[in-house]
Amino acid sequence: MTRGGNARTHERLPVAGAAILALCLSVFSCSAWAQADGQPEEHRLKAAFVYKFAGFVDWQSNLSELPTLNIGVLGAPEILNELAQIVPGRTVGDRAITARGVDPADLRDLHILFIGKSEAARLPQLAAALQERGILVVTEWDGALMQGGTINFVIADRRVKFEISLPAAEKSRLKLSSRLLAVAHRVVGAP
């Protein structure tokens, strides 16, 4: 569809284009690396949040008597990995924090359970048991609060936000600080 004169111009273009691109790369990429100020990745932020939550929650069940504050992670190895880097040496009040991977049969002595999206299907069956034990259940999928989750991560405006279910917190005998509620993206079941 192109006539002769035009065709010649077209053939030259990709070669020139490639040369320019290659040049750009070789000149600039070093300085680019040096100057980049990275933005955090989603799973890192979530892990930091999970750790932070511990400081804004009062466990009114017998969990409050345990010597350490225990965080469990189900089906989210990335987050467990990050938590493992966060918790050493940190405390909530005067309690040291532990983080471990768990399976549904092993929920003993957990204060917080983070359930990754890959294990989302387990929540509906587990919810009652988790509330019974007084565990703060943190999730990361749409509709998790309806299934018995207490705090659910959502992404809004490229930021990690979280929503809170007050009825679920009440069932698990958790007292959430007003600062936590104030930062929440959405609070479900507020009077």
């Binding site: 290659a22 690396w33 980049a36 955090p40 749409d142 992404i155 990690v160």
Partner: protein
């Protein structure tokens, strides 16, 4: 024209193309060489887990994350075929105009006719008229009551400030009214509170130059504003192009948002002007007989949202839109639209109810061109509508949405647009849905009051009895996210049409030929897309669109052009896209689009490859080089069936852009 709550953010799919070709290899080797040296540089501030843990809750929730790609919200309960184009998708596509950004949606057919004119449609019937698609920009309906279509050369937004574009294929009449027969495009710009500070986007290339500037600030504690201006020009040296091809355009506007506890208020407006080059004619080159095409317009919209403690919400929105078009060859028109709408959402238990009403008025003043006129030249049209829609949670994971809309127009009176949608979530990561809707394309001036011909002879005349085109739309869809890194959406549809627009053969019925409703039949097809996050820094997306039309013209009066005038659609279309974050400072994007052969008039299939390389030396600065149509000097995407239609070859495009957020 409000959308009921259930905002959709669907499983996203774009497309990709892994590196290949010489350019790919050169890039790769250049990168491999420079990389080892970088290791010597230190001081890169990376947020690791431990440093994040030292931030406050508030600070954490204000941090932007890099990978929007891993969208945990990607699977929603929307019981419709919805594809969402995000702000980031637009930026990474290198698009400079709204229609080019729409190419990202696999459920749209986008074909460029000229520098600024497009044929855009969903599920077939694609032509420059495009009268079965509803387009909204921030709640403002932008189709013209003249022909129920969209003049794409008159619609633009500041792309950097777009929050997202929702492309919904299928009928949306219950929610959005007549015209939403085959689809809805919903362009949503960011609240002024999210576009604070200055942004400069400056770029030039062949054949485009595009510059835009925005500034946003605070007004008091709850108020924020932004003002913007953008300029665009297109100068092509293509030899195969229509007269009046080259094009330039300017636009400016503002948005004010006030976000209170229970009340939100928005006021926004735009002004634009555009102009084509002078059109020569073949007899005496250099002498402009038909002049240029000029467009201009302004709009102003106000919206008030009120949330009540009992969960109810109320929205009132009103806007004014004025659009002028001067084209001596075709026609001249000044169109003024006024629209006011109200919407009220009422939750009761696990269910919810949404109802609303609206009034719309369009007043236009046309002047005949050389070939086209509207009689009467001046016309005032009115529309009234009311709708009600209920959302019922039948069981834990089954939701039924049923509703209807009543809409009155001056030509055919009351039209009814009901729909029923059911969604079933067998697990949190799967959704199976189905819907049946009745959609209506009500007559517009071009159907009833249009005259085409030469002085003294009318060849085509609007049909005094032209009635609404009707579609019964059945859809079934499945969306799932089987693993954290993979999601997909598949929708199958069947549309049954009655009373589609047709003409007649002047040799049989004599002139003038009246516009009538003598075509019926069905359109079937499949829309699918998938996204695969291959690695943390690499995302692949694919899109697929299959379409099969079975339309039939009544035997009498015969209309040899009837079917081809309804549109020209590729039976298949594929999209492949790759988004690769080479490092925190470098991005490489590639998109491959394959569009099948258009049947009538026959237009060759084409494959277009677009690539973009971006470098972000600092968080506030981005330099990008984009090439569209990389391996193809030019192709024709569409030829109008009109008398004076001239095919235009869409050429390779190269564009260098600077984006600076201050």
């Amino acid at each position: 024209m409000f959308r009921p709550e259930a905002r959709m953010t669907s499983a996203i799919a774009e497309s990709s193309k892994p590196l290949r070709s010489n350019i790919g290899r050169i890039l790769f080797s250049a990168f491999a060489w420079t990389c080892p040296m970088c290791a010597a540089w230190g001081g890169v501030q990376i947020y690791d887990a431990a440093s994040l843990a030292d931030l406050s809750l508030e600070q954490l929730s204000n941090l932007e994350i890099t990978s929007v790609s891993r969208r945990p919200e990607s699977l929603s309960g929307a019981t419709a075929s919805v594809f969402v184009i995000t702000n980031d998708d637009i930026r990474r596509s290198g698009a400079n105009t709204l229609p080019e950004a729409l190419r990202l949606a696999p459920n749209l057919q986008v074909a460029r006719l000229g520098s600024a004119s497009y044929a855009i449609s969903s599920r077939g019937f694609n032509n420059a008229l495009g009268n079965k698609l509803l387009v909204l920009i921030d709640g403002r309906t932008v189709y013209t009551p003249l022909n129920s279509g969209v003049f794409w050369d008159q619609q633009e937004v500041m792309l950097e400030d777009v929050e997202r574009i929702e492309v919904i294929s299928g009928a949306g009449g219950t929610t959005w009214g007549t015209n939403a027969v085959n689809g809805v495009i919903n362009v949503i710009t960011r609240s002024a509170s999210k576009t604070q500070g200055a942004l400069l986007a400056a770029g030039a290339g062949d054949p485009e130059i595009a510059n835009a500037f925005r500034y946003g600030g605070k007004l008091g504690t709850d108020g924020s504003y932004r003002v913007y201006a953008k300029q665009y020009s297109h100068n092509d040296d293509s030899e195969i192009k229509a007269q009046g091809y080259d094009w330039q355009r300017g636009q400016g506007g503002f948005r004010f948002d006030w976000d209170g506890d229970a009340n939100d208020f928005t006021l926004q407006g735009d002004y634009y002007e555009g102009k084509s080059e002078e059109r020569e004619q073949p007899i005496a080159p250099g002498f402009s007989l038909f002049g240029d095409t000029r467009v201009s317009g302004m709009n102003m919209l106000g919206r008030w949202d009120r949330r009540f403690d009992n969960g109810q919400n109320l929205r009132v929105q009103a806007y004014y839109d004025r659009a002028e078009r001067e084209d001596e060859l075709a026609f001249q028109d000044v169109m003024e639209v006024f629209d006011i709408e109200l919407q009220h959402g009422v939750p009761f238990g696990r269910h919810s109810l949404l109802w609303g009403a609206g009034y719309r008025q369009a007043e236009d003043d046309t002047e005949p061109g050389l070939l086209v006129s509207f009689v009467p030249e001046e016309r005032k049209l009115h529309w009234l509508n009311a709708f009600v829609q209920g959302k019922f949670n039948l069981a834990e994971n089954v939701e039924l949405t049923a509703g209807t809309r009543f809409e009155r127009n001056d030509y055919t009176g009351w039209e009814i647009l009901p729909s029923v949608r059911v969604g079933w979530k067998p697990s949190p990561s799967q959704l199976l849905w189905g819907a049946v809707s009745r959609a209506v394309r009500a007559p517009s001036r071009i159907d009833r009051e249009f005259f085409f011909g030469f002085p003294g002879v009318t060849i085509i005349a609007g049909g005094p009895d032209f009635r609404s085109e009707i579609a019964i739309v059945s859809e079934i869809g499945y969306r799932a996210q089987p693993t954290e890194n993979f999601s997909f959406s598949v929708t199958a549809f069947h549309h049954d049409y009655e009373y589609l627009r047709s003409g007649a053969d002047p040799d049989v019925v004599g002139v003038p030929v009246f516009v009538q409703n003598n075509i019926q039949g069905s359109v079937r097809g499949l829309e699918a897309w998938a996204t695969w996050q291959v690695a943390r820094s690499w995302r692949l997306s694919v899109g697929l669109n299959l379409l099969s039309e079975d339309l039939e013209q009544d035997p009498f009066p015969p209309d040899p052009d009837g079917l081809r005038n309804l549109g020209n659609n590729p039976p298949q279309q594929y999209l492949l896209r790759s988004s690769w974050d080479i490092s925190s400072a470098w991005e490489f994007d590639a998109m491959l689009r394959r569009v099948g052969e258009l049947p009538d008039p026959a237009i060759e299939a084409y494959t277009a490859v677009d690539v973009r390389l971006a470098w972000k030396p600092r968080r506030d600065l981005e330099l990008s080089l984009a090439a569209q149509n990389l391996f193809d000097p030019g192709h024709i995407e569409y030829v109008d069936t009109g008398l004076f239609a001239v095919p235009t070859e869409i050429e390779r495009r190269v564009f260098l852009k600077l984006l600076w957020r201050m």
